[in-house]
Symmetry: none
Subunit: 229 residues, 2 copies
Amino acid sequence: MPMRILIVEDNQALSENIYFYLSKEGYSCKQAFNYEQAIDELISTPFEIMVLDIMLPDGNGLDLLKKWKEEKPETGVLIISAKNSLDDKLTGLDWGADDYLTKPFHLPELNARVKAIYRRRNFNGNNMVEFNEITINPDNVEVFVNDNLLSLTRKEYELLLYFLVNKNRVLTKQSIAEHLWGEQIDLYDSFDFVYQHIKNLRKKLTQAGGKDYITTVYGIGYKFNTRIS
Amino acid sequence: MPMRILIVEDNQALSENIYFYLSKEGYSCKQAFNYEQAIDELISTPFEIMVLDIMLPDGNGLDLLKKWKEEKPETGVLIISAKNSLDDKLTGLDWGADDYLTKPFHLPELNARVKAIYRRRNFNGNNMVEFNEITINPDNVEVFVNDNLLSLTRKEYELLLYFLVNKNRVLTKQSIAEHLWGEQIDLYDSFDFVYQHIKNLRKKLTQAGGKDYITTVYGIGYKFNTRIS
DNA sequence: TATTATTCTGAAGACAATTTGAAGATTCTT
DNA sequence: AAGAATCTTCAAATTGTCTTCAGAATAATA
């Protein structure tokens, strides 16, 4: 699933654990260690779900929750907080949090709740991503072109998903790189690897009988073009 | 046991609690938060048992009960409802509910009643889990491939059952580990043991004449693939 | 058309994940 | 407590995937 999770937690160790765990579960995670970073991240990238600690060094998580829910109510929010702060609990749920978890907790439970939130927000049945002859089923990590199953590598899969979610939008090589490799990519990299994966993806799609919707925008990047000639 | 339970309850928090608890008990649960969702779920997937709240935002649980019992009388139904609605109680049992529980209740009690319903209904029913040449009889803990009985170890058995209940869904090594070993597994484990059991299961299945439906999804996990080439 | 920047391609090596067998623990049975 | 079955650990071997590189092809610019 194209599920991005923002982890807002100032405790480094805990944050790392959550990050590690959810990443292994296949989510694409990012960390923010304080209020300000969280805002920055939220503005710059869309997230489906935010795991939010109430106590932050430079602000209250509930403020963040409230503000962000006004902005983007469709974001799922899972509050995590020290136990016994029952007031927070009430307030959090009042202000639009989807669920609440008291520390300490087991990561599998966190995962279960994240999944539950995701499921809840996704009620319109099967959450296929599709366009014309291409169909992606994120649950099964399967891609079909005209009903034949494609075997894509991980990068190819994520690349295609990224394109399909951003149809007709020009994606710079840089943003592609960031999306597929996280933030630790070097700005001055050659991006050769992007070329590679674009190439492989194009090949597999066309070989399976699909059109080549991926057009290159010279000097800028690529775009999944729904109106190709 | 391949027991699937549908939880029909509009209170999010309560639903989550039930979901979490029953899942931990080894049942495979799904949630529906209103009448309509419940119908959708019931139609799309078979359930052995339904935990049903009477008061739903968009309809009366008793209607649902009545309708569904006409359709599929073998489904076990446990009614949950606010206390003192004694009328409901009588009516519910009249209309075919198997048991009744008043809110608030303790989850272990819910679990006990679910178990009881299951036991009761199991006299007549063969609740086999099967796919093509593979048949699992959870009552006897027996697995057949093309009518020859397989002798699987406990882990192998549970692994296969887990796969068969989640056909075509990608299961991460992590979730497999959690499912077979409980939640206490170490995050930084190597998951070597998962590999082992996968290997053994594959071997036994193919040696017995079955196809190798278990495909590895590189970098993510495994999946029981019903559409192997 | 010549020049330059950008993209595409194939091959090779680096890297990462999975598979495997063997051996050591552990659990179960008697 | 002994023996058998099962589970787990470990260390190669194997396989799959990613990245790098160098040269070819293509597009933009003048």
